[in-house]
Structure formats: structure tokens, C-alpha cells
């Protein structure tokens, strides 16, 4: 199940989108989230969808992976769609099934809302699929840097985030290993009443915590010996480079926003 989830995973590549600076991609996504709300009729939604498909094309991520990997989210989308059809009683009746009527507005709103959902999920997935988590962290750190003035510990937060990211695969492996070791000792995580299942989690969680603490301790020691003592006086090895491509992509987004503004009702 978890293996099939594509959301939040990174697929290395060398496409136009891959090459963009994480800062421009982050700004792009945040701006896009707002811009989506500009669309309110068939034409504007069509433009939005076309633009999203264009971005997917530019990222060279196969649509099949996106759709396949986003199945759980698509289910949620279908649910909101049905909800809209059932609840919205405005406009002409399109279909009368006796026990329920489908109204024009209901259908329209249902389609629009699911479309909005779809493009948002696609665009944010494209961000995480084409940007390594560490680049996202770098981008966020730089973008949030001005907030240091109001005493937000930006450097520490970014370091915490990058270390957590770095240890996710390690801890996943560890969880898998401990789970298997306890299953081999007859512990059963997937059967029986809830009470038993909760009890079965203890043999998994205790060793996991013990090992995570041990790792944290080791890591802190290693960092200290390697001269880490806070953000003060540190230089940065990871440098971000803003390119003409980045400006271009934001200008393009602005153009799409302007078009949507002009064509909306």
C-alpha cells in the first residue's frame, strides 16, 4: 500500500522542471494555489487543466505514474463530486431518477470542484516529484530567511528538517526489520480485536524509540565532534542559483493568471 503511494516521493530527472530553482518552484506552487480560485467557468477551467497538463509534460513525469500513484486522492475527489451532485439543487433538472434529481448547477459545481482538486494535487505532486526534499528545504530556508528578524529559528528548523529527511529511509528500514523480527517471534499486527492489535504495537514501538534515541545520540556526538555549534558563523555549501528559466516560469504563470482574470465571469 505505502509502496504504491507516489505522493511526497522524488523521481530524479533532468527535465526543464527538474532544473528549476526550488525557490521559483515553491513560489510557483503557492501562487498557483491562489490562482486556481480565479477559474469559475468552463473556459477558465479548461485553460487551467491545459496549463497543468503542460507542466506535467514539461516535467517528463509519466501521467500514468501520477494517476496510478494518486489513487487514494482520486477516491476523495470522486466523493466530493458525488456530494455536490446530491446536495446542489440549483438550475434545471438534468436527470430525474425519482428518488433523486441531478441539477445542472450541481453537476457543474461537482465537475469544477473535482477539477480544482485534481490540478492542485497534480501541481503539488509535480513539485515533490521533481525536487529533492533537501532542495525543498534549501528553498524554504532561503525564502523564510527574512523571518530570522522576528526570531524565527529558520536555520535550526531547516537543519532539523533536512536531518529528518535524511533519516526517513533509515528509520523505515528499521521499522520493517523490527516488525519482521517480532513477527518471527509470533507477534501478529494484523489480526485479532483492536485491544490485541494495540498491544502488538508495543513490541514494535519500544525498540524503535530506543534505536531512534541511540541514533540521535550518536548523531549529536558526531556533529559536535565535527564542530557544529549552531548557525552562528556557519557558511553554506549548498548554493541556489536563480536562472532565466526561473523568471520565465513565473512570468508564464503570471500570464496564465492574467488570462484567467480576463476570461472569468
Amino acid at each position: 500500500m505505502m509502496e504504491k503511494m507516489i505522493f511526497g516521493r522524488y523521481i530524479p530527472g533532468n527535465s526543464f522542471v527538474h532544473q528549476l530553482d526550488p525557490r521559483s518552484k515553491l513560489i510557483f506552487v503557492f501562487a498557483f494555489i491562489i490562482i486556481v480560485f480565479l477559474a469559475n467557468n468552463i473556459v477558465t477551467y479548461a485553460i487551467l487543466l491545459a496549463f497543468t497538463l503542460f507542466v506535467i509534460l514539461m516535467s517528463r513525469i509519466r501521467l500514468y505514474f501520477l494517476v496510478n500513484g494518486l489513487k487514494p486522492v482520486i477516491f476523495l475527489m470522486a466523493f466530493t463530486f458525488i456530494l455536490h451532485i446530491l446536495m446542489n439543487k440549483e438550475g434545471a433538472v438534468l436527470l430525474d431518477l425519482g428518488f433523486m434529481k441531478i441539477h445542472e448547477e450541481g453537476l457543474k459545481q461537482g465537475i469544477f470542484i473535482s477539477m480544482r482538486f485534481l490540478v492542485l494535487v497534480f501541481i503539488t505532486s509535480i513539485l515533490t516529484l521533481t525536487t529533492s526534499p533537501i532542495s525543498i528545504t534549501d528553498g524554504l530556508e532561503t525564502l523564510l530567511n527574512p523571518l530570522k528578524k522576528i526570531k524565527l529559528p529558520v536555520h535550526e528548523l531547516a537543519l532539523m528538517m533536512s536531518i529528518s529527511l535524511r533519516f526517513i529511509p533509515t528509520l523505515m528500514d528499521e521499522t520493517d526489520k523490527i516488525m519482521k523480527a517480532q513477527m518471527a517471534r509470533g507477534s501478529d499486527l494484523s489480526a485479532g480485536p483492536l485491544k490485541d492489535r494495540l498491544k502488538a504495537v508495543v513490541p514494535l514501538l519500544v525498540p524503535l524509540f530506543v534505536s531512534a534515541f541511540k541514533r540521535a545520540e550518536d548523531l549529536a556526538t558526531a556533529m559536535e565532534v565535527r564542530g557544529y555549534r549552531g548557525g552562528e558563523g556557519r557558511t553554506r555549501y549548498r548554493q541556489l542559483k536563480w536562472d532565466i528559466k526561473d523568471t520565465m516560469s513565473l512570468v508564464l504563470l503570471l500570464a496564465v493568471a492574467a488570462t484567467l482574470w480576463l476570461l472569468r465571469n
Binding site: R166, R226, T235
Partner: protein, 281 residues
């Protein structure tokens, strides 16, 4: 020969309030000279790793002093001294800080405020020295244990350290990984004359050293060249260690009545002795 690191009558206990309790390290003295390879050997719990912690100021001794070059290690000069010591720990996963190989190598440099342009040069150089330049953008979970340890060595080298301390750096590796790491360290010794202090219970690793310090129950039991230490024979085994292959083989052959001249530490020596003393007559 100039002295780089020394322990002068160091005593340390994890429970100083209890005077009766066994000391983790008791009255240990030794020194390391420029360009030497020193191995500290002993079974698990013999005080080896406590000594590593004392060397980089993670712990401070109850009695005695640790000197790096001529300076006594104190709270005041701690950071300055740490920048001169490269240290590689046992667990390859738990010391990899960066998201990728190059980020990890740069970590100490960043901490010490080295400018970006210089970092780029030093990271590249350090990775070439451990032959990991082809893995510059790899993430740690795609590397083998031996590769991660080589990256850790590169991270230390980037700081141009006075001394490289390997704290059981090979004990969690598979045989290939162990060989990779030891070959890397040997090559560095030859190329840049690096001073190495390795803490280990692997006696084949200790054989590579110029001098061996043999720890038992927190005390220095013996110190000498590998030949002198392995001449202790069964005493090593009694203290939870093993003998190098050639030494063990020599003893077994002698027990079979095969004539051999003295102890042997390498297979070549033993093969030659076998030939001259038994076949080539």
C-alpha cells in the same frame, strides 16, 4: 619526530561519586607521533571507546591531561582542537549528517566557516582521496557501509586534520567494506603521511599499525610493535582477543612438531619459514 597527541596519567570514571566503582580508564599514558599509525586494541568494555571520547573532549578526565600537539585540551580550546581532529565512528549510518555525499563532506567545513569557493575545492579533493568522487550526489541509503565510512573519512580529511581517529570504524562492516576502508587509510598514510589512531578489536587491523596499545579493564596492559604484542600469544586470547591468522597457524604447526623459527605475523613470512626450515633441505 614531533608528538601530536598524548595521554598523561589519564583516569576517568562514569560514576565519579562512587570511589569503589571500577574506573573506565585508569592511569593510562601514551603518545602518538606525527605520521605514526597507532592501534588501541582490547575486548568490548576494555575502555577503548572511552579513550576516544576523551581525545576529542566529549569527556574530560578525572585526573591527568590530554594534549593535542603541545596544548592541553580544555573547555576553552575545545573547538579549536576539534577542528584538528578527524574522527570516524562505528555506526556508518549514525554519523552521516548531509543529505548527499558532498553535503556530508562539507559539514565540518560549513561549521568552521570556510568560504564557499574553498569548500568546493576541498570537498572534491577529499572525495578523490578516498576514491568516492563518482558518488558526489548519492544519498546515504544508496551507499554500502564501507562507502559511507569512506565518506566519513573524506569529511575528516577536508579539514586537513592533524590526526585521524577511527573508533571501531570497521566493526560493523562486511569483509569487503572493512578491506575498502583499511586500504583507503593505508593509501592516505603513504600519500599524505596522515597520522592514524585506530581503536579496534580486529587484530588483522592492528597488524597494520606501527605500534599497538593493548587495553584490558581500563588499564594499559601492554604497548609495543605488533610483533611484541602478538608474542603475548595466549594472553591475548585470555583477554577476549584473537591472534592474527599467521601467528595462530604458526602455533598450531609447532604443536604438530613442525620446525619454525619464532613467531610470524604475515602469511608470507610463515610460508618462507616453512620452506626454509622444512622443505628446502
Amino acid at each position: 619526530m614531533s608528538e601530536i597527541l598524548s595521554f598523561n596519567h589519564i583516569t576517568f570514571s562514569y560514576t565519579p561519586e562512587n570511589a569503589e566503582a571500577r574506573k573506565a580508564v585508569q592511569d593510562v599514558s601514551f603518545s602518538v607521533n606525527q605520521g605514526e599509525w597507532i592501534a588501541i586494541v582490547g575486548h568490548n568494555g576494555s575502555g577503548k571507546s572511552t579513550m576516544a571520547k576523551l581525545m576529542c573532549g566529549l569527556l574530560f578526565p578525572e585526573q591527568g591531561e590530554v594534549r593535542i600537539k603541545r596544548d592541553v585540551l580544555t573547555e576553552e580550546n575545545l573547538w579549536e582542537i576539534r577542528s584538528q581532529i578527524g574522527m570516524v565512528f562505528q555506526n556508518p549510518d549514525n554519523q552521516f549528517v548531509g543529505a548527499t555525499v558532498q553535503d556530508d563532506v562539507a559539514f565540518s567545513l560549513e561549521n568552521n566557516g570556510v568560504p564557499y569557493e574553498e569548500m568546493v575545492i576541498r570537498v572534491k579533493e577529499a572525495l578523490e582521496q578516498v576514491k568516492m568522487e563518482g558518488f558526489i550526489n548519492h544519498e546515504p541509503h544508496h551507499l554500502s557501509g564501507g562507502q559511507k565510512q569512506r565518506v566519513a573519512i573524506a569529511g575528516a580529511l577536508a579539514m586537513y586534520p592533524q590526526i585521524l581517529i577511527l573508533d571501531e570504524a570497521t566493526s560493523m562492516l562486511d569483509p569487503q567494506g572493512r578491506e575498502e576502508v583499511l586500504k583507503t587509510v593505508q593509501a592516505l598514510r603513504e600519500k599524505i603521511g596522515l597520522t592514524v589512531l585506530s581503536i579496534t578489536h580486529d587484530l588483522e587491523e592492528a597488524l597494520l599499525a606501527d605500534r599497538v596499545i593493548f587495553m584490558n579493564d581500563g588499564k594499559k596492559y601492554a604497548e609495543g610493535t605488533p610483533a611484541e604484542i602478538f608474542a603475548l600469544g595466549d594472553q591475548l586470547v585470555d583477554f577476549g582477543l584473537d591472534l592474527p591468522f599467521a601467528t595462530k597457524m604458526t602455533k598450531l604447526l609447532q604443536a604438530q612438531g613442525v620446525q619454525l623459527v619464532g613467531q610470524h605475523m604475515t602469511e608470507e613470512e610463515l610460508v618462507n619459514d616453512l620452506w626454509t626450515s622444512n622443505f628446502n633441505k
